[in-house]
Each structure stands twice: as C-alpha cells, then as structure tokens.
Amino acid sequence: MGDWSGYLTLILQGAWVTVKLTLMGSALALVVAFIAGLGRISGHAALRWLATGYIEFFRGTSIFVQLFWIYFVLPMTGLWAPTPMQAGVLALGLNVGAYGAEVVRGAILAVPRDQYEACTAVNLTRFQRMRHIILPQALPLMLPTFGNNAIELLKATSVVSLISLADMTFQAQVVRSQTGNTLLPFVTILLLYFAMSSVISFAIRRYERRVTRGLDGVR
C-alpha cells in the first residue's frame, strides 16, 4: 500500500492529459461547430452540401471508428502521420463539432425573423447583423447543449487510451496490470471523471447566467 502515492501520481499525470485533451478538443469542436453550423444555413448551395456531408458523416460513425481511422489509416495514405495526441484532439474535435454544428444552426434559426428585418431596416451589413444582433441572442440558447456536449467530449477522451495515449483511463490500466488491484484505480478515476464533469456543468451554468443577464423578458 506504500506505493499507492506513486501510483496516484501516475493517475494524476493521466488526469492532466485528459484535461488537455478535453480543452483542446473543445476548442477545436467550438470552431468547427460554428463553421459547419453557419455553413449549413449559408446561401451557397455548395457550402451547405459540404457542411451537411461533414455533419452526417461524423454523426453517423462512432468516435471510436473515426479515431482509429485517423490514427491507423491516415498514415497509410501517405498524407500525414499524426501523433496519438494530434489524432485524439482531431477526432474529438471533429466528432463533437458535428453535434455542435446542429446546435449552432438550431439556435440561429430560433432567433425571430423580425430581428433580421430590423437589421435590414437599420442598414446593418451581414457581418454586423451576425455579430451584434443574431449571435448575442443565439448564444444563450446554445450554452446548455454546449455544456452537455463538453461533458460528452470529456467522456469520449477515455477512448484515446486505446491508441496508447497515456490519459487517465490508460494509466488506471497500467496501475491495474502492475499491482493487480482493480478496485482502487478504477474507483479513483471514476471519481476524477465525475469531478471534472461537475466542474464543466458548474462553469457552464455560471457563464449562462452571465450571458442571459439583461435578456429577461426579451424571450
């Protein structure tokens, strides 16, 4: 039992990798979600088709298959050989981004039509309309679902342990195989995962309260 602190350090190192993956994956997912979400409601048919194809493809196959495809198949095509970390962030970002794109689209379409008409009336450009009128009203609608998506992303990071990236789940497996103790490592990481997802939902609720301030009675 004396070695337990050493094993705990190992798991905490894994936890740091999980946190990094979650943050980078979420950042990529957010960018991709806005690009694809805006693409789906764009005026250009080609952009719309491209965005729809991307969304359907990444929502239709599982994160596991996408990760393996990026990590094992992509290098064989000779294009690019990602490191496990790059493959993980890419797969997580693209997968969750596809779900996020639908959220972005839904929220923007939920802004009432008269807001658009008012923008035309006061002669705003398309960019100004998006930046100052539509997005500030659409963002609060997106946040709760984005929070859920971030938690789904955190949970999905455990899959990268299967391409031997040393995240929390991977380290728990290492501890299990070295000590033969199963209960302690798995209970530890379950608690850590739960703590992380609680932090995400708490942070989203705080941020939600900030952006909805002053919107009472508008909707």
Binding site: G60, F64, F72, V73, K155, S161, F186
Partner: protein, 219 residues
C-alpha cells in the same frame, strides 16, 4: 496504399460475424436500458427523499463518467468481488446501465407531460398505484417518448465498438484482429466505418418517420 477489392471481399464474412454480435449487444443493451431506465425514473419520483435523491445522484454519476471506464469496472473489478461475467454479458450490462440513465430522463419528460387531471381521475376512480401506472400513465406517456428513445438506441449502437476493449468479438474487434494479422488497416477500418454509416443513414430515415408518426413530444 491502394484499396484491394479482393482483400476487402475476403474479410467480409469475418466482419459480418462481428456485425451480428454488434446487433445482438445493441438489442440486449436496449432492453436493459429500457427496463432500468423506467426503474430509475420511478425511483426518482419516489416520495422517500433518500431514495429519490440517492437515485438522482447515481444517475448523475453514471452520466458524468465514461462508458469505457464503467465497462472496465464491470469487467475487471466485479470478478475480484466474486462476480464473474462473460465479456458480452458485462458489456450488455454496462451499456444498458449507461443508457438507462439517459432513458430515465426521457421517461421523466414523458411522465411529466401527462396532465395532472389524469392522475386525479385515476385517484377519483379508486385505482391503486400499480393500476394507475399500467393503465393510465404509461399508455399516454410512452408513445411521445419513442423518437427520443430511438435516438438513444442509435447512439448506443454507435458506442458498441467500446465493447472490443473488454474482448467482446464485435465488429470493431474483428476488424482489429484482421488488421493485426494482415497488417492492412485501410480496408477493415474503412469497411467498419461504411457499415456504421449505412446503418445510421437508414436509421435517420426511420427516425424522421417516427418523429412524424409520434410527434415531437416527450422532450
């Protein structure tokens, strides 16, 4: 690396054998999720505060931690406590338990959508709790839930590759064993992706039909 049709055709029987296990696991997992989800939903409505709070916490905990780790927990920790399960059974229980927490939210939404008058009418006609649930509440609450449930069924189907991590020989595991023995990743991984895509594209069409048939209630 080029695509080899002959090789692709030669590995199809093995992949289809895995696909059969994938479908079996999904079907059994769905049954477990549907039954356990209802149990969670009813316990959460219990008037006993300890019972309802306790269930609420368990549901939140399971939702906040990765399915992969839960599968490891069932597969590696339970045998140490004297419960030895075959891999497929462990997988079905893990997936069923995980998705039961999602299903319980759908049940909760559906049950809360049944108007108060129905409960009062059941009381007025002197039905006991069991009769109220079976004859009055559930027949009205279940149909609006069907689209949301089907959505989670599809999500669960896409998570089945995780079962390969606990040695279930489903589609993804068959593909990995082909890849490891032949050193060809392109065909097996791509075929797995295509199979998932085919099933989910068909399912999306089915989902749209369900949504039209049963309406978008039960959210």
């Amino acid at each position: 690396m080029e695509w080899d049709w002959e090789f692709a055709a030669s590995i199809m029987p093995q992949l289809l054998a895995g696909f059969r296990i994938t479908l079996i696991a999904t079907a059994l997992g769905a049954v477990v999720a549907a039954v356990l989800g209802l149990v969670f939903a009813i316990l959460r409505r219990s008037r006993n505060r300890i019972l309802s709070r306790g269930t609420g916490f368990v549901v939140e905990f399971i939702r906040g931690t990765p399915l992969l780790v839960q599968l490891y927990f069932i597969f590696y920790v339970l045998p140490d406590l004297g419960i030895r399960l075959p891999a497929l059974t462990a997988g079905v229980i893990g997936m069923g338990l995980h998705y039961a927490t999602y299903a319980s939210e759908v049940y909760r939404g559906g049950i809360e959508a049944v108007s108060r008058g129905q409960w009062e009418a059941a009381k007025a006609t002197n039905l006991n709790a069991r009769q109220t649930w079976i004859h009055i509440i559930l027949p009205q609450a279940v149909p609006p839930m069907i689209p949301a449930m089907a959505n989670y069924l599809l999500a669960m189907f896409k998570e089945t590759p995780l079962l390969s991590a606990i040695t279930v020989l489903e589609l993804m595991n068959q593909a990995r064993s082909v890849a490891n023995s032949s050193y060809r990743y392109v065909e097996p991984m791509t075929l797995v992706g295509v199979m998932f895509l085919i099933v989910s594209v068909i399912s999306v069409v089915g989902l749209r039909w369900l949504e039209r048939r049963y309406g978008g209630v039960g959210k």
